[in-house]
């Protein structure tokens, strides 16, 4: 399946791009993260500490155990600092 991946804040800076479209068969968010981390060093660095990251599936906050079936857009970012 094809999925759009978005990166924000220091995750975006570390990976070096704001978004990309990937072809993947990953079943869960964690599977996708493992796949990306094995791809290149910059991904491995960005995903080194999952506790410091948040994930959103189709613009709703989710978690790393969530299944990816039917998801079109996934975003990775640090804890939010709005307000």
């Amino acid at each position: 399946m094809q999925i759009d991946i978005l990166y924000f804040a220091w995750v975006r800076e570390r990976i070096g791009l704001p978004r990309e479209r990937v072809e993947t068969e990953a079943a869960t968010v964690a599977d996708l993260v493992a796949e990306l981390a094995s791809r290149e060093e910059r991904y491995a660095l960005a995903f080194a500490d999952l506790a410091a990251l948040r994930v959103a599936l189709d613009q709703e906050l989710s978690d790393f155990a969530a299944p990816l079936a039917g998801v079109r857009e996934i975003a990775f970012f640090p804890p939010m600092t709005g307000g």
């Binding site: 906050l61 970012f77 640090p78 939010m80 600092t81 709005g82 307000g83």
Partner: protein, 146 residues
């Protein structure tokens, strides 16, 4: 309910006045305004990144939740993104209710959730480099009271 996510500055006086002018029954209005702190003169600018689309959804959901919990006549959220200078206005929240307890509680609730659940990220640009603002444990803990 009014929600604006924008790069432009907003006029706090005019927004507050327009919000109040639109009310018909409320007895209590609370506003919160967040300003860029200058960190003792060390801050040159603040850059705010956001997630277009999710920002509006997340804030909309927080506002719906506030409306369901308290007797609000109206609520307003304005949040900026982009590059801001010291003491510039980052965002504002306004709530209107028959009585003050509801207006205060809803405004604090909105602020607590905007801090930790709306997809904004702040970066402080100083004389000696730039740094992403780290989320505070106290902000995450603040959510447990609701």
């Amino acid at each position: 309910m009014h929600l604006l996510v924008q790069e432009d500055r907003f006029d706090i006086g005019r927004e507050t006045e327009a919000f109040i002018a639109g009310l018909r029954h409320a007895g209590a209005v609370v506003t919160f305004t967040g300003l860029v702190r200058d960190n003792g003169g060390q801050l040159a600018a603040m850059e705010i990144e956001h997630y277009p689309g999710m920002t509006e959804r997340a804030i909309g959901a927080i506002m719906d939740e506030a409306k369901a919990r308290w007797a609000l006549e109206d609520a307003l959220v304005i949040h900026r993104y982009g590059r801001l200078g010291p003491q510039e206005q980052i965002m504002m929240v306004a709530t209107a209710a028959p009585h003050r307890a509801d207006a205060f509680a809803a405004a604090e609730f909105l602020m607590d959730y905007l801090k930790s659940r709306a997809p904004f990220w702040k970066k402080e640009i100083g004389a000696d480099g730039a740094e992403w603002v780290a989320a505070k444990a106290s902000d995450e803990n603040a959510l447990t009271r609701w």
